[in-house]
């Protein structure tokens, strides 16, 4: 049985919940009192993940930290369609790795701004926002050109991959950090398409496709 060490309001945990749902997997949740309990910095949790971060996933005797690593593992092991992480397709795997790294950049910027605004983290929120806008411009342009070539998703195949799952949460939560998506129409179209993926699930702060906010 898969166990997810989870915090409801974490976009990185949301990535994992999204893919678990999309793949139709069953899992057990161990909720972590992240704010204000800081359970992710407790001794018992640090033994699980010395970096003191959620999510952590356990499956049989395997323990994994890092949302992107967990997405890679889940897709490679459980996705029978072979689409979410197409092993053997070197070109697509390269693109996926590139966008997984990009997702880390979104976490370091858009998510950091959200931590400051929501959870009162003491950090340079203006720098975080500026960094998010730099990345969003790159993302918007990439998605716009993809659309021109008839592609709806981040990587070459005509279907979403774990790269889309990794980038979606902190993009869609960006307004909470004061990062508006108004200037990025291709991003807004992409998040709307993402919400229509079968198995898509919500978290607090994310609204269904077509909703007013």
């Amino acid at each position: 049985m898969i166990t997810l060490y989870d915090y409801e309001l974490s976009g990185n945990c949301y990535k994992v919940r999204l893919l678990l749902n999309i793949l139709g997997l069953e899992w057990k949740t161990r909720r972590i009192d992240f704010h204000p309990g800081r359970e992710h910095k407790s001794d018992w949790f640090l033994r699980l993940n010395p970096l003191g971060q959620v999510p952590v996933l356990e499956d049989d005797d395997l323990g994994l930290r890092d949302a992107q690593a967990i997405l890679t593992y889940l897709a490679a092991r459980y996705d029978r369609s072979g689409r979410w992480y197409p092993a053997g397709d070197a070109r697509t795997l390269g693109e996926i790795a590139m966008w997984l790294a990009f997702a880390e950049g979104i976490t370091a910027t858009a998510s950091a701004a959200r931590l400051a605004e929501n959870f009162l983290y003491d950090l340079d929120v203006d720098a975080a926002r500026a960094g998010a806008h730099r990345l969003f411009r790159v993302l918007d342009e990439h998605l716009w050109f993809a659309e021109q070539e008839g592609r709806d998703w981040l990587c070459a195949p005509g279907h979403p991959t774990i790269a889309d799952v990794a980038c979606f949460p902190y993009v869609v939560l960006s307004e909470e950090g004061g990062v508006s998506r108004m200037p990025y129409p291709a991003i807004r179209r992409w998040t709307d398409r993402f919400k229509r993926i079968p198995g898509f699930t919500l978290m607090s702060g994310v609204f269904p496709a077509g909703a007013a906010v």
């Binding site: 409801e8 309001l9 909720r31 009192d33 704010h35 204000p36 309990g37 800081r38 359970e39 910095k41 605004e117 929501n118 959870f119 009162l120 003491d122 307004e175 909470e176 004061g178 978290m203 607090s204 702060g205 609204f207 906010v213």
Partner: protein
């Protein structure tokens, strides 16, 4: 900018959740546009300094939070008897910043009409969208009291299983302090209590602090917090998309419907007390 009225200056406001403060050691915040430095010298040694003058401010510790004041408090902290009942799970909900007037946050807290649309599957579900008429009064203690509120809720509490009709009582104690009493599924004669202490950081920015006093059935502190944050994080984007960000007190500004009786009473009460901070006063 509106000047903060004496009713706000001469009162206590929550400025830090104690666990959060203990883990940070010190941090900067603001109250009514006055910058503050909040610090913790030991497990029970808390200080608040004004950043402009360096002056230390009076503090009080209660309900899992540190309270302070910019003036001479004319009255004590609001007293919630349920918060001293030993058999309850009493825990802070986790402070969350919201970029909107704190008065909007209180008003949203009083509103049942949004449950099926914003808290879909938890505090409401379509087609159960009707808010039945309820009673609103101002008490002898000058608090707004809304009683006989009832709503159908699919997951009414962190331990609820299956939908149920829930009874609510709302109370607004101070301009930025409100609480709600919610019938407990296991012990219907007692209430679960949620207190909202809103810290007005500026006129269009607040920090929502909360204190929960739940009956313990099948619950622990983590589950209680989890549920509070799940619900509040659904409200946050709605609040931040309010326009204007300050609360209009002019009754014609936003057309009232019957279900908005508590909101209407709140706006009228704020107007009567001359609260303009975080508000757009009636012309």
């Amino acid at each position: 900018m509106n000047q903060a009225h004496a009713i706000l200056v001469d009162d206590w406001h929550a400025v830090a959740e104690l666990d959060f403060l203990r883990s940070r050691g010190a941090f900067a915040t603001a109250l009514l546009d006055v910058g503050l430095e909040v610090s913790c010298g030991g497990p029970d040694d808390f200080r608040v300094l004004r950043r402009d003058t360096g002056a230390p401010l009076a503090t009080r510790v209660e309900y899992g939070h540190l309270f302070t004041t910019l003036g001479e408090p004319a009255r004590d902290l609001v007293h919630f008897p349920e918060c001293h009942e030993e058999d309850r799970i009493r825990v802070t909900g986790g402070s969350i910043g919201v970029n909107v007037s704190g008065l909007r946050a209180v008003e949203n807290f009083l509103d049942m009409g949004h449950f099926p649309f914003v808290h879909t599957g938890y505090l409401g579900i379509e087609p159960h969208t009707e808010v039945e008429p309820y009673e609103v009064a101002v008490t002898e203690q000058d608090e707004i009291l809304a009683t006989a509120c009832r709503f159908f809720q699919p997951v009414a509490s962190p331990s609820a299983e299956g939908g149920m009709m829930v009874d609510y009582v709302y109370k607004v104690c101070r301009p930025y302090t409100a609480c709600l009493y919610k019938s407990n599924p296991v012990e219907p004669e007692r209430w679960d209590v949620i207190v909202l202490f809103v810290q007005p950081v500026g006129e269009e920015r607040c920090i929502a602090h909360s204190w929960l006093a739940y009956l313990p059935h099948d619950l622990d502190e983590e589950a209680t917090r989890w549920y509070m944050q799940l619900i509040f994080a659904q409200d946050k984007p709605i609040l931040e998309n309010e326009f204007p960000k300050r609360l209009p007190l002019d009754r014609r500004a936003e057309v009232p419907v019957r279900a908005d009786a508590a909101s209407l009473a709140y706006r009228r009460w704020l107007g009567a007390h001359g609260v303009t901070y975080g508000a757009i006063p009636a012309a």
